[in-house]
């Protein structure tokens, strides 16, 4: 029995799974995440997180970069990004190695 992960280890390298991609939706003027039989609207934070997520960067590096770009507290960024990425992993849209 695995509990829902609330966050990721700093060393984990997350990425979107094949068949999951972001797209700018011109009609609705927003970024969306397209996945098998699912479409998620991405807010600015969600899009920023996925823009840094490429399977190469560790979660710690992603948080560092977001904290620097948005001049925001690292703890807060780690919490938001960790929760968001963990939810995508739970839903089989992303993985972390």
């Amino acid at each position: 029995m695995t509990a829902p992960a609330a966050t990721l280890p700093e060393t984990a390298r997350p990425r979107l799974l094949r068949g999951v991609r972001t797209k700018f939706d011109r009609v609705r003027d927003t970024w969306v995440l397209l996945a098998p039989e699912r479409t998620l609207k991405l807010d600015q934070i969600g899009h920023a997180i996925l823009s840094e997520t490429n399977g190469e960067r560790s979660f710690g590096e992603i948080v560092d970069r977001l904290a620097a770009t948005y001049n925001a507290p690292r703890d807060r960024i780690a919490e938001d990004a960790g929760r968001f990425l963990a939810s995508l992993i739970d839903r089989r849209m992303a993985e972390a190695r």
Binding site: M1, T2, D25, E37
Partner: protein
């Protein structure tokens, strides 16, 4: 060819842009499942739209906000130009999902489909062994073929969803169905209890699950979702004739998606033709944007103004939209009535009694779907 949506006065209800479309590329299918959601009157091969028309339709769909296209049938692989059709959807950046039984796919075709931009496959499952699956599908060797196709999909790491239609005869194998989905490497499993539209209406006595089966299925799904978190996502369509409240059919009529038939008629759902008086415009001759915004059929049950009591004053109406219009038509003889699944419907007791009687029936013969001309 009409490629430009006409500016028109606002419709009675403002429609948000559609998210998804179901493209029924053909009604032809090697299988003859007794619960097929295709209409009883199937579109003939000679009436099918060509690949160029589908390309025009996809371009119009993308223009009005559609993000995902579900390529379905019948069996879409029965079309020799499926690869070209996938390419046309991909060319306008639609997310492409193939809904297939697997029969008609080869390794070479799978490679071509992926090369042309196919992103995901939904593979149907009629049972967890050849005896059950081939009998329900009415196609000997179908299960073995499907397992072969599932292996080819896994080797290519193409994202896979299994769609298992469940009913009286196979619900007791639900745990094995979940197990098989994990073994085949599926990311998602749809446990779809049969809905009684189309061909299933002729097989109520053979397919209606018992209340006990429906309850046990809910328990098994809840347990498996917890146990398989991060491994397998399970979508669950319940046996609504045993429920107290209706399903939010289509997420609301004309609110999120539409269906295009093999001959190009554009409908709010795949059973909408069962409602008398609705007229369905033809794509691509009429632009999808015009149809989505202005079709009387799409506007017929949008919003809440069409509702009668008890829906009109019900606080659940924003959640379930009064349920399924086609089911209201079928049982109440009035498409504006409350879905008789709802406990507030005067027909609820009769619907449940009929369901119990069909669930208790034994030895009913399957009536198989036929082939289009």
């Amino acid at each position: 060819m009409n490629t430009q949506a006409q500016p028109e006065p606002a419709a009675a209800v403002q429609a948000r842009p559609p998210m998804a479309m179901l493209a029924e590329l053909t009604h032809r299918c090697p299988l003859s499942c007794p619960y097929c959601s295709n209409p009883l009157e199937l579109a003939a091969k000679a009436s099918e739209l060509g690949a160029a028309d589908w390309a025009t339709i996809f371009a119009q769909a993308a223009e009005i906000g559609v993000l995902q296209v579900h390529l379905s049938g019948g069996e879409p692989a029965s079309r020799r130009d499926l690869e070209e059709i996938v390419g046309a959807a991909h060319a306008v950046d639609l997310y492409t999902n193939l809904i297939t039984s697997g029969v008609g796919l080869t390794e070479r075709r799978l490679d071509a489909l992926v090369d042309n931009g196919l992103e995901h496959i939904q593979l149907s499952l009629q049972g967890v062994d050849a005896e059950m699956a081939d009998r329900i599908g009415g196609y000997r060797g179908g299960f073995a073929r499907k397992m072969q196709v599932a292996d080819w999909i896994a080797r290519r790491e193409i994202p896979l969803t299994l769609n298992a239609v469940m009913h009286k005869q196979n619900l007791d194998r639900l745990p094995d169905t979940i197990e098989l989905a994990v073994e085949l490497g599926a990311r998602r499993l749809e446990v779809a209890t049969v809905q009684f539209h189309g061909w299933a209406t002729r097989n109520r006595a053979a397919l209606m699950p018992t209340r006990a089966q429906a309850r046990e299925a809910s328990r098994i799904v809840a347990e498996a979702r917890e146990r398989l978190r991060g491994v397998l996502v399970i979508d669950y369509v319940t046996a609504d004739h045993h429920a107290e409240y209706p399903k939010p059919c289509m997420g609301g009529w004309g609110s999120t998606g539409f269906n295009v038939t093999p001959d190009g008629r554009v409908m709010p759902c795949h059973a909408a033709h069962t409602i008398p008086g609705l007229v369905f415009e033809q794509a691509p001759g009429t632009h999808l944007g015009d149809i989505w915004r202005h079709s009387a059929a799409f506007n017929a049950f949008r919003g809440f103004d069409w509702m009668q009591e008890p829906c009109r004053s019900c606080d659940r109406k924003t959640r379930d939209f009064g349920g399924c219009r086609c089911q209201a038509m079928a049982f109440a003889g009035d498409a504006r009535a409350t879905d008789p699944v709802c406990i507030k419907s005067p027909l609820h007791a009769r619907l449940q009694e009929a369901a119990e009687a069909d669930a208790a029936a034994e030895g009913a013969e399957l009536v198989y779907r036929t082939s289009p001309a």
